[in-house]
């Protein structure tokens, strides 16, 4: 830490802590302003790290609740015949599994990582809008209390799938308005979180941290935040129209009243497809941080990575109807959406090639974060391959709404988005806690997860091609074998995840002291801060000399 210099802050209006030495250690001095008492610290927190922690803990809880739903689904599908659930309950399980995992687990986990890392990576003391940060987090527990309690109201929970297609979803009972209000709350939370990320990145970068020098995680989050602001209001509009159709006699989606059930699908997927990239772009950023670190080599093709991310974000707005190839679109539309969807393979391919080229002629070591990133690389690619197959509209006629699609999106979401998040936690956890975690347990967590995620999801490709539709509680006997394999994989994968909170808990409460750099090949501003990072990250903007030393991962160093 001795070579760190300080420059006068370039951020007017952020002089509250001017004069403090950010690097004096992990003592009370650096923790200046840290509130005391449980409620004071957590309920009213405006600190990016505390709020980030709350987001991550929240998403972990949701991951286990959504995971419990998944275990119940796989238990029912373990063998043919109905063993545990009425079909209506089964539909509640699948619908809420998806809603909880998407809006409760994956999205908040990325916001939590952004809260922790964006200020540290761009050289800022905190997020730009700390009170809104607190608000956007504290909406979430209420939103999900509402959603989860909707499962238990008369008439049953939401059972029309997470896509909530009318007219089916309009048959829902009391759960409908509860779930819709809950989605409104989640949307408000996401939009506020995104505004915060954008304002922080645009206004609080350290001098010398130009946009095209930002770490990839910051870049991917910046683009994700714009996607969120663009599409969350679209979802809110779609579900509000469902609400008025159900309660106020409108006929937006009711054919008998002059409405159009297909219009809902267009609106929903105009949100839904960018949403898919919202759930993967930050993981792209994470992998772009981890692979250079453990290859001891700068990221290959940094500029191409940024442009590829932006291209994917742009394309995500013009491919939505590939979710609707079987609704009977005009031939010209189907052709357009097929071709535009195929185009996504190009920037995505560029990213995979760049990650591979980063490892080429590197010096690779395989600590837990790297293992998760490598698993991401292989298995996300498998999800990409099935995605390419799904893009071909005539072939999609056979894949649509089968287990082939289930396998596809679980490959991009579980070994993609979730492995990315887990990798990020293992990458930055020593920086957060100041301790190393149990490497052996973390490797067990990795190998068990990687083996069983494949046992769980790979057979679902076969089931789909053999003709098994998704969202069914019972199936014909020729699907029995692979379903049993998949369920066994599911139970083992689910059980393996219990290691994750145990490892984090241990790490938070002791362990070998982490160095400031933590990983030999780590580059970037966050590693210039002490471990654990001080309560207020960069109370003074890091000097240009610091930036040079802590050059972001993509820049040549040595």
């Amino acid at each position: 830490m001795a070579n760190i210099e300080h420059a006068p802050t370039a951020m007017s209006g952020y002089d509250a802590h001017a004069g403090h030495d950010a690097h004096a250690g992990h003592d009370a001095h650096a923790d200046h302003g840290k509130p005391h008492g449980f409620w004071g610290r957590w309920l009213t927190s405006t600190n990016h790290k505390d709020i980030g922690t709350m987001y991550l803990v929240f998403s972990c809880i949701m991951f286990f609740i959504g995971g419990t739903f998944a275990m119940l689904i796989r238990a029912e599908l373990f063998k043919p015949g109905l063993q545990f659930f009425d079909p209506a309950i089964f539909n509640v399980l699948t619908t809420n599994h998806a809603l909880i995992m998407i809006f409760g687990a994956v999205m908040p986990s990325f916001v939590g990582l952004a809260n922790w890392m964006v200020p540290m990576q761009v050289g800022a003391p905190d997020m730009a809008l700390p009170r809104m940060n607190n608000f956007s987090f504290w909406i979430l527990p209420f939103a999900f209390t509402l959603l989860i309690s909707s499962v238990f109201v008369p008439g049953g929970g939401m059972a029309g799938g997470w896509t909530m297609y009318p007219p089916l979803t309009l048959q829902t009972g009391y759960a409908l308005p509860m779930a819709i209000f809950s989605i409104h709350l989640m949307g408000a939370s996401s939009i506020m979180g995104s505004i915060n990320v954008i304002v922080t990145i645009m206004n609080m970068r350290a001098p010398g941290m130009s946009l095209i020098r930002m770490p990839l995680f910051v870049w991917t989050w910046l683009i994700t935040a714009f996607l969120l602001i663009a599409v969350m209001p679209v979802l809110a509009g779609a579900v509000t129209m469902l609400l008025t159709d159900h309660f106020f006699g409108t006929s937006f989606f009711n054919a008998a009243g002059g409405g159009d059930p297909v219009m809902y699908q267009h609106i929903f997927w105009f949100f839904g497809h960018p949403e898919v990239y919202i759930m993967i772009l930050p993981a792209f950023g994470i992998v772009s941080e981890i692979i250079p670190t453990f290859s001891r080599k700068p990221l290959f093709g940094y500029d191409a990575m940024v442009y590829a991310t932006a291209s994917i974000a742009f394309l995500s707005f013009i491919v939505w109807a590939h979710h609707m190839f079987t609704v009977g679109l005009p031939l010209a539309s189907e052709t357009f959406f097929m071709f535009s969807t195929m185009l996504i393979a190009i920037p995505t391919g560029v990213k995979v090639f760049n990650w591979s080229a980063t490892m080429y002629k590197g010096s690779l070591s395989f600590e837990p974060p790297m293992l998760w990133a490598l698993a991401f690389l292989f298995m996300f690619s498998i999800g990409g391959f099935s995605g390419l197959m799904l893009a071909l509209a005539p072939a999609d006629f056979q894949y649509q709404d089968t287990y082939f699609v289930v396998a596809h999106f679980h490959y991009v979401l579980v070994p993609g988005a979730i492995f990315g998040t887990i990798g990020a936690v293992y990458y930055w956890l020593p920086k957060w806690t100041g301790h190393m975690y149990n490497m052996t347990l973390a490797k067990w967590h990795f190998w068990l997860s990687t083996i069983f995620v494949n046992v769980l999801f790979f057979p679902q490709h076969f089931l789909g091609l053999a003709g098994m539709p998704r969202r069914i509680p019972d199936y014909s006997t020729q699907f029995a074998d692979w379903n049993m394999v998949s369920s066994i994989g599911g139970f083992c994968f689910g059980a393996s995840q219990i290691l994750f909170p145990i490892i984090i808990w241990q790490c938070a409460h002791g362990g070998v002291r982490a160095t400031d750099r933590v990983w030999e090949g780590a580059r970037g501003l966050e590693w210039e801060l002490p471990s654990p990072a001080p309560y207020h990250s960069w109370t003074e903007a890091p000097a240009f000399a610091t930036l040079e030393h802590g050059a972001p991962t993509h820049e040549t160093h040595g």
């Binding site: 043919p80 079909p87 008439g155 089916l168 190009i346 509209a393 003709g467 020729q478």
Partner: protein
């Protein structure tokens, strides 16, 4: 060709040998480790199968190259083996142009056949007969356009009894568990048939893998599709509803019986004759009982679940 190669289990081969759809036709076989799509029974479904295999092999090829390169780097450049990173290797315009343009060419090689098959699936001109299909919660109705023949097709009673929660009936003891109906759709081989698909309450999807058709049945819309089954592919083919449509979405199968043109004419005339001897009101629920070709159709109409076919007001959560 690939299907055969990729099959681990031979229990379905009996069905395959008799020229029936090996996947959805499960004889007494309990289970099958089926891995791949089946080619189907008409040109469109085989073209789709060909497209599927084209995309599949491209993916396998790309995976071999990309994963091979990654594995090579992982094995070759290990820190523990003293590898020293070449930190100057951060970009190469030449390589980046190559790995952007090669995928473009690969995509074009798939886009052209895909567009051709897509146009083919959309061309319903020259159809010799039409069938109107309507999805209801949770059964299908079939109307032979231009004839009075119209009937409801529901899950057969043995499957329906076995699929009740804790029924105690072993699904493996039921032939074609969940994939048989009381009144199958009977169609002629060698005739271009246009199907008009719509939904009566919520959205359903009519899917018969062997025909390569999956079309949503949407209230307020009439979707079109067509098939022209090869004359040597007579037999029974099975499918299911493919769009979540409520509680019993998993229990509204589709069974298509492909017969020769002559047998179809006989069957249709028999249906019309049956209708004349029955009160007109029964025409919508009764059919095929005296059919010469439809096997094992139960004499009694299938038991009606609590919801009537048109009961759109049902609360799905119950």
């Amino acid at each position: 060709m690939m299907t055969r190669k990729m099959k681990i289990n031979s229990r379905v081969l009996a069905a395959a040998a008799s020229g029936l759809a090996p996947v959805l036709f499960a004889p007494a076989a309990h289970a099958a480790w089926t891995l791949n799509l089946t080619p189907g029974i008409d040109k469109v479904s085989r073209d789709i199968y060909g497209l599927h295999m084209l995309a599949f092999w491209w993916c396998v090829g790309i995976a071999a190259v990309v994963f091979g390169f990654m594995i090579y780097s992982i094995v070759r450049f290990r820190h523990s083996q003293g590898a020293v990173a070449d930190t100057a290797l951060t970009h190469s315009t030449r390589v980046e142009v190559i790995w952007t343009s090669i995928p473009v060419l690969i995509l074009i090689s798939m886009a052209i056949p895909a567009a051709r098959v897509l146009v083919e699936t959309a061309d319903t001109t020259g159809a010799q007969m039409a069938i109107r299909i309507t999805g209801y919660q949770w059964r299908w109705t079939y109307e032979y356009v231009g004839t009075p023949v119209k009937f409801v097709s529901s899950l057969d009673r043995t499957s329906d009894a076995a699929r009740q929660l804790d029924s105690g009936i072993d699904p493996f003891s039921i032939p074609n568990y969940l994939l048989s109906v009381d009144h199958p759709l009977v169609v002629p081989a060698g005739v271009k048939v246009r199907v008009l698909i719509t939904g009566g309450d919520v959205i359903h999807a009519w899917w018969v893998p062997a025909l390569g058709i999956k079309k949503d049945a949407i209230p307020g819309y009439v979707n079109e599709a067509w098939f022209d089954v090869d004359t040597d592919k007579l037999g029974t083919y099975r499918g299911q509803c493919a769009e979540l449509c409520g509680r019993d979405h998993g229990f509204m199968p589709i069974v298509v019986q492909v017969v020769s043109k002559d047998d179809f004419q006989k069957w249709l005339m028999q249906q019309e004759a049956d209708l004349k001897t029955q009160p007109a009101t029964a025409a919508t629920t009764v059919s095929t009982t005296a059919s010469t070709t439809a096997p094992s159709a139960p004499i009694e109409p299938a038991p009606a679940p609590a919801t009537a076919a048109a009961g759109a007001a049902t609360v799905a959560g119950n």
